[in-house]
Symmetry: C5
Subunit: 289 residues, 5 copies
């Protein structure tokens, strides 16, 4: 059994391997164009798989790197499409296991298993984010919350697409009885399928919760505006009668009741208090609050 | 017929049973990792099922505990993955029935039937919640309503996922003619399937109603804001002309009409009343209210 | 041919019939638990059907009562699960026809046909409601409209569930070539299926219109708020300059232009008018309205 | 070949034809009840089709009239369910062609082709409406826009239902190899199917655009409210400090700075200007605008 | 092998080719009516395909031109339905390759490959647009943003429809084992299918992001309104007590506390400050902000 790990997909090594193992030109081309979808295709004498290795970048965004695998009955070729610590790590981990003593299908299973296992911590990260966003949306809705909701949405849309395609890969492995995969591996491949399907379930749940968080944000803002409006209206209800009464008593006219009396101030203040109380009563009575 | 109930999935008992009945390593591993999805898988000489036992925690949130079942033609192994009063209760109830005299498929049916029956009171609890939330959203929309709507949504999303997977388990039991299940049990398994499907129907209806409650909340808040705005505008319509007139009569200028007359106050008040009436008429006329 | 109509599902009559015709215990149990879904199941020597008879209660809500039917080659058993005038009416109508001279499949068709026909006036009632709600949402959006939209939504969700299940019953009748149903009845059963499918179409249309009515409600309220805000702003635009000018002329300071002149009032009023006009011009110019 | 055109579905002519050609009673009944769905059913010796002829009424609403067709190997019966100029026009057009010299399947194709062709101008009408509504929603959102959006939605829901059913009719014609339809007609029937499918595509696109127009309406109104609020707040920011300062200088107290000075007015106006500038600076600084 | 390129679909050249290669009249008609959907149909002795060539017009809108292809075992006919630089470019590119030495299926593949490749830059253009729109919606929501969101939505709806139909074409090519397509071409056609499917994925993602951008817009505007309202309310909270106090001290009444004292101004200002502080405290205390 031979395992070739190609780290420079543009180099000659891949061309030589393609010639040696009769790899289809379209598959070789796929290895040289990044941003392929996860997929599996049958070639003559081998299976070709593209896997997506996900990574959280320091700025919080999500990056997907391509890992391509060709394997037949007695060889396996892995192609690292870019320098990516996650891909490197997975290859090292599988290598450091009982690597070359194993059959290609066993190595293939271990790689795909590692790739899929690496999705879970990323999903957990977003799950925690959504919990926080939900709290923020309810308690202190502000533009940065909105911005983070949108970024998380974008990441989940990308994650979902990767998972759907990976699920199709795992489903295809399960369904077709490929001559390159021993029968004893089937339950393990079914296990990979189950993992991906459960991850996909989780992403759907998170998308649902996230859209709920956005609704909460909007409702929360509307509620706050309503609250602020009420305060303004209550202020107005108290202040406007006082202003009108004091304005009237400030007029340069004759005949203001009590203007000449020493209790003028109390008469005026009394009028203010009365009109405010009447106003509050009327608003209450007609249930305008 | 032997029935083993394993309460410590990490212990040696499970290893010994696995060796004795040739349980697949992946299935044993599933018993030791919580948070599996409900599922059914065929092993060699047995069926492996993961069921989710739901429980309302005192703080109102929903908790799902795993109950694993292996059964073959002459044995049944149940694994309680965590100490959970609900799982314990179900095992006790089935035990206290005509337990060991029965065939494994009969015991299996009785366990799954109890697990599914226990979903109904939880769904009823949420159904009542939604009725209340709807009333609150309509009559007194406030942030706690929003928060509870969101929590209920979260619980329904979880419940739905459990039910979808459980329905798949029941569907698989119905479809495949497993050698471990006697033909007379089929109508009973179909009954379980119908129960789960009806529960799922209920969850879908509740999700629909809940999203309606959120719409009502938002509309209700918008309506209240509108109401409050109207009050403020009416206040302004009445007070502003009065303030302008009293401001004018308060100016230190000459030539104020009636300022010198003993009826000055009434002239000014009359002007206020007139301008307010004209303003109200204009607003009414152009249908600005 | 025998027709048994059981009005007390808890009574002994049903037990005796179950023994006589070998009815499955789960089916007998279904007759004794209300709130079954509409469904059809094949028993040994008979077909078991649960139908939902819908009724508009005086308070405007929708009630579903269960009507169970067992029929074989030479008998029909109908079970009225509760005292419900609609069920009673349907049984009477079918009885008063050429009842017992007919075959069980003909009676069965006539019952199911009556049950389905009775859905239409209920749907028409909701269709009219939605027309009204739409007008109200557009012309006078108020909390009762919101409340009625929600109640109608609830009723349509229930109606939809009943219709989906009834359609499955009718579809099953059409598909399976049951030995208890004569071939000449097939076009009639297809007709029932078409009726239910058309009703379901109608419910989907109504749900769509109802969600539109809610959108209109929200948009309508937003529009009104906007309208009210504009009035308030125009009021402010006119009143504030006047208040500022009159406030300035009301100050106890020296040097107010024209304060000593006999035309002081006109100078001040002129200033008010000018500042208001300038303000309106500026707002217009920068398209702030 | 005989072609009967029945203009009075309630009359005796239809009964006589039903007897002569053994039409199924349920089909004859369908001809006498308006508001059938478009559908195709196989009778003994004939095919029965219900088509919906759409018409824009002068008030802008959409009306659907039923046109029923029975045809067998040597006859065709068309039933005009109501007096409708569109149905009449279609019958006349087909008649004025090489009418009676043709086979029934050719006439049938020409009728269905005309009915389907007549949908296009109606869809174009709504497409133009949506363009206008979109512009209105963006530039001058007002209740009539909302009302027209809703009416268009209602019409598209109806149109969609008619098209879905008509597509099923065309699909059924394509799939079943009816003995009454010559093989050479197949590409033509496929063409009808394609037309209907493309119309349905168009309706889906229009529904999508219409729901977008509603979103735009709501966003546009929210934006305008925001705009109006800003104007009000800017007015307040400028006027309130001026009012407070002039209020202070209007007080009947001693010690007002500069009250006795001949430059009192300028001192006061300067204070007003300063406080307004400070306020604007603070608002700007904390990004409250 | 003959390759005919028809640039005037209305001309006689097409009629002659139709006669020579027995093209079906409906297919020839399709070439003469623009705005066909992308589709593939089997004729006698040839395959007929309609492809949509997309182009971004200078005003930013999206235009679709039809390119029709007939090909059999020894001929290929391409029809440019309108003068379109994109169609022209594609034809030229394929021509300038090893054109006429190739088989019709190879030329056909190269044309469809070019058409599909040309979709990608258009999708990238909209992807960039959505990024910008999202930023605008968050940071400076204004009507032009709304208008551009809607235009992009319209373009994506059109693009999606074209891609769905093109995917069906590619899927049909993959599934049917047409005698006109050599077996070695199959992986290449599968590659075209994959490209279209990935484009469609991208469009779905963009639609999802765009609807998110609209939600952000609405939330952002609501937030800004809330912000503006708060400013207005804080202004009111500070100014109204000051106005009421200064109004009171401006009244022509006796008994104003401190009115006669030389510290009258400070007493009044103190009262203003106190009442504002009390008001702010009360609002804070009852969490009205």
């Amino acid at each position: 059994m031979k395992w070739y790990n190609v780290t420079d997909p543009a180099g000659r090594e891949l061309d030589e391997l393609a010639a040696q193992y009769h790899l289809h030109p379209l598959h070789v081309e796929d290895c040289r164009h990044r941003n392929q979808s996860a997929k599996i295709e049958e070639g003559q004498g081998y299976l070709f798989t593209v896997l997506k290795v996900m990574r959280l970048l320091p700025d919080g965004s999500l990056h997907a790197a391509d890992l391509d695998i060709f394997f037949g009955s007695n060889f396996i070729i892995t192609v690292e499409e870019e320098e990516c610590p996650e891909i490197r790590g997975i290859i090292e981990q599988v290598r450091s296991g009982p690597g070359l003593q194993q059959r290609p299908d066993q190595i293939y299973y271990r790689i795909i298993d590692h790739v899929v296992d690496a999705y879970l911590p990323i999903l957990d990260h977003y799950d925690d984010s959504i919990d926080e966003l939900e709290d923020e949306a309810l308690n202190s809705p502000a533009p940065p919350t909105l911005s983070r909701i949108f970024e998380t949405k974008r990441a989940l849309i990308l994650m979902r697409r990767v998972l759907v395609n990976t699920r199709d890969v795992a489903g295809h492995l399960q369904r077709t009885e490929s001559p390159f995969i021993a029968r004893e591996m089937w339950p393990f491949l079914r296990d990979v399928y189950d993992h991906v399907a459960r991850n996909l379930d989780m992403v759907e749940m998170m998308r649902d919760l996230l859209s709920g968080a956005l609704d909460v944000y909007l409702s929360s803002v509307a509620n706050r505006t309503n609250q602020v409006m009420k305060v303004l209206t209550i202020l107005g209800t108290v202040a406007l009668p006082a202003l009108v009464v004091s304005g009237i008593y400030g007029m340069n006219v004759k005949g203001l009741p009590g203007a000449e009396s020493p209790h003028g101030l109390f008469i005026a203040l009394g009028l203010m208090a009365c009109s405010t109380i009447v106003l509050l009563y009327v608003l209450k009575r007609f249930r305008w609050f």
